[in-house]
């Protein structure tokens, strides 16, 4: 490292609560993380862990009437949670943009792909239609869409799944955002297409120098794209740090359990999978104690008490009182 990278995203003590029919849902609790320039952070977690909700907070994409957000979300020095509607609209797509799991939702079926990209460029940069069309073409070529000029006039339903995903990336990157939010963008794709899209994202990141916040449930995908990871469970980040260290030597029992429960290539078929018993918590109440304790084989009485602040060491963070307990370490090794 020649210089200390500047943080493009800083999230502090983020809490997101939804008002539901059967009471409030405490989707995200006390989440803090940083994302430096050019970095990729993978938010790793299973369904209901709060990873997508966290991601959407960076653009305030939640339904406003049903959502309470507190904390700080700073993107490129601007405070997102207190932004007025006009500034927010200006920021979306220009400073921060997003790719989704389902590209059909990102495109309007009645406009061509080229016009939709051009429209986004005009809205944010106020340039002429000609210039915007040229930018659209350039982006389509950058995401390696074959015969890009012809595809500018295609509609989203005329494209294959992988192609649509590329077009959505072109749209998201058309205004050169500083931060790209990726919400499981390859989950619906076939294996041979998924790897194309992941490699493309990595290349584009190098070319355009953006930071990526990548939400996924797939450990393999996270390893492929990210250099840092934050593992989420029950609405909290329970462990974060450089991805190689976190996934090679996990400190939190949940991260350990998740890795042990995942089938890996070349695994012995006689070997039994070490499943985590039970199922994830329901977030109908604020969980102040460790949310994983009911499923954790190392849990003690102390784990039912409210969680103390996370432990930070060696550039890593872990939110577990038993994490570095010698007894626990002995059990893992």
């Amino acid at each position: 490292m020649t210089r200390v990278a500047e943080n493009v995203v800083e999230v502090r003590n983020l809490n997101v609560t939804f008002k539901g029919e059967e009471g409030s849902i405490y989707a995200v609790t006390d989440v803090s993380f940083d994302l430096a320039e050019g970095e990729t952070l993978a938010l790793l977690g299973e369904s209901g862990s709060g990873k997508s909700v966290t991601l959407k907070s960076l653009m305030r994409l939640h339904p406003p009437h049903k959502t309470t957000i507190t904390g700080q979300v700073r993107v490129a020095g601007q405070e997102v949670l207190s932004m007025d509607a006009a500034t927010l609209a200006d920021m979306r797509g220009k400073l921060v943009s997003m790719v989704f799991q389902e590209p059909m939702l990102a495109f309007d079926p009645v406009f061509t792909i080229g016009d939709q990209i051009a429209e986004a460029v005009i809205r944010h940069e106020g340039c002429s239609y000609e210039a915007a069309r040229n930018r659209a073409l350039e982006m389509m070529e950058r995401v390696r869409i074959p015969s890009a000029r012809k595809r500018l006039d295609a509609y989203s339903h005329e494209m294959s799944g992988g192609m649509r995903q590329r077009a959505m990336i072109a749209l998201a990157l058309s205004c050169r955002p500083k931060v790209l939010l990726a919400d499981e963008p390859t989950t619906a794709l076939d294996a041979t297409v998924q790897i194309q899209v992941l490699l493309l994202l990595k290349e584009l990141q190098k070319e355009l120098g953006m930071s990526i916040l990548f939400v996924t449930h797939d450990v393999g995908v996270a390893i492929e794209v990210a250099n840092k990871t934050a593992v989420m469970y029950g609405g909290r980040i329970i462990e974060q740090g450089p991805i190689d260290q976190v996934l090679t030597d996990p400190w939190h029992p949940y991260t350990q359990g998740l890795l042990a429960a995942t089938v890996y290539p070349g695994m012995d078929r006689q070997e039994r999978l070490v499943a985590i018993p039970g199922s994830p918590p329901r977030l109908y109440r604020p969980i102040r104690e460790c949310a994983f304790a009911p499923r954790c084989s190392y849990a003690t009485e102390a784990c039912k008490q409210p969680l103390p602040p996370p432990m930070v060491s060696e550039g890593r963070m872990v939110h577990c009182i038993r994490a570095k307990d010698p007894a626990v370490l002995a059990a893992i090794r």
């Binding site: 029919e21 029992p253 350990q256 359990g257 042990a260 039994r272 070490v274 499943a275 018993p277 039970g278 199922s279 918590p281 329901r282 009911p294 499923r295 084989s297 190392y298 059990a331 893992i332």
Partner: protein, 301 residues
């Protein structure tokens, strides 16, 4: 984590802990959710009130609905002894509205109920068996869709001759095609769900699958739709009476009352609109209740 095998049953115990302790049936859940929706509760109470009044009209009505006195014709609202005034023949409006509710509600509900039974059966047969049977039933209903409902009701009533029973038959015929179509599309959707395939895979025959797996999932959808038709039916039957094709004078019926009072609109405008207000309130309540029911029955995963 150190243990290689986790006993399966301890898994279940941990999972069970995440469930609410009480189990409710589907309809109990729907009922509970409906009760929590204030608008639906108000509508249901209003309808219950109207139905009770109609049912006990002979006990509740202050006057005979057919007896009038020309001396007091077209009294205003709040006239002495006649709370809601009198009509052009001096009959008490309140009593006539009470009695009129009986005919109007029956005329609104019966055709929909009959069409519900017939249309659901036709639609389920068409949807489940598909192919030629489907084409035959659905293309026939399409013919009916070529005409607006009002025109169709008038045409059928006209062909059958006037009278309440014929109006009832006409309205039933008008509502069979749309209900058939809704039932057919619901059945087609359910038929392609995996649990129907699973039932076929365990060797069940078509009738058993329809009875056990299709009926319960189709009835709800069609029921919601049918509830929303009640208001249309009430308005149509009022319309038929208004045109002189349904109930005959001197029977009290809201549509017919609206028709006869119409000539006096410049003399007693407020009295004249009362039957219209009753039709409006009743159909609005049925519509809102149908909306509430739709919301309550939509149990997400």
């Amino acid at each position: 984590m150190s243990e290689a095998t986790t006993p399966v049953l301890s898994t279940a115990a941990a999972e069970a802990g995440s469930l609410s302790s009480k189990s409710r049936g589907y309809w109990a859940t729907v009922w509970m959710r409906l009760r929590r929706d204030p608008l639906s509760v108000v509508c249901a109470l209003t309808l219950a009130f109207l139905i009770l009044i109609a049912a006990f009209a002979p006990l509740l009505a202050p006057y005979d609905p057919a007896q009038g006195s020309m001396v007091i014709r077209l009294s205003p609202i709040g006239a002495e002894g006649h709370l809601l005034g009198t009509d052009e023949l001096g009959r008490d409006i309140l009593s006539r509205l009470m009695y009129g509710g009986r005919v109007s509600l029956v005329m609104g509900l019966t055709p929909v109920l009959l069409a519900f039974l017939i249309g659901t059966s036709l639609g389920m047969v068409a949807g489940f068996f598909g192919g030629f049977v489907n084409s035959l039933i659905m293309r026939t209903t399409d013919v009916f869709f070529a005409f607006p409902a009002v025109l169709l009701a008038i045409a059928i009533s006209g062909a059958l001759g006037t009278g309440p029973v014929n109006a009832l038959i006409a309205l039933t015929l008008v509502f069979i095609p749309p209900i058939t179509r809704v039932a057919e599309s619901a059945t087609t959707r359910v038929r392609h769900l995996d649990f129907v395939d699973a039932a076929r895979a365990s060797g069940a025959d078509a009738l058993t699958i329809i009875r056990v797996h299709v009926l319960g999932n189709v009835l709800g959808v069609v029921f919601i739709y049918a509830t929303s038709l009640v208001s249309v039916c009430m308005i149509l039957s009022a319309g038929l009476s208004f045109l002189g094709m349904g109930v005959r004078p001197p029977t009290a019926e809201w549509g017919l009352m609206l028709n006869t009072l119409r000539q006096s609109i410049y003399i007693q405008p407020w009295v004249t609109v009362l039957p219209g207000v009753m039709i409006f309130i009743t159909s609005l309540c049925f519509n809102l209740l149908s909306d509430g029911l739709r919301g309550a029955m939509d149990l997400k995963r």
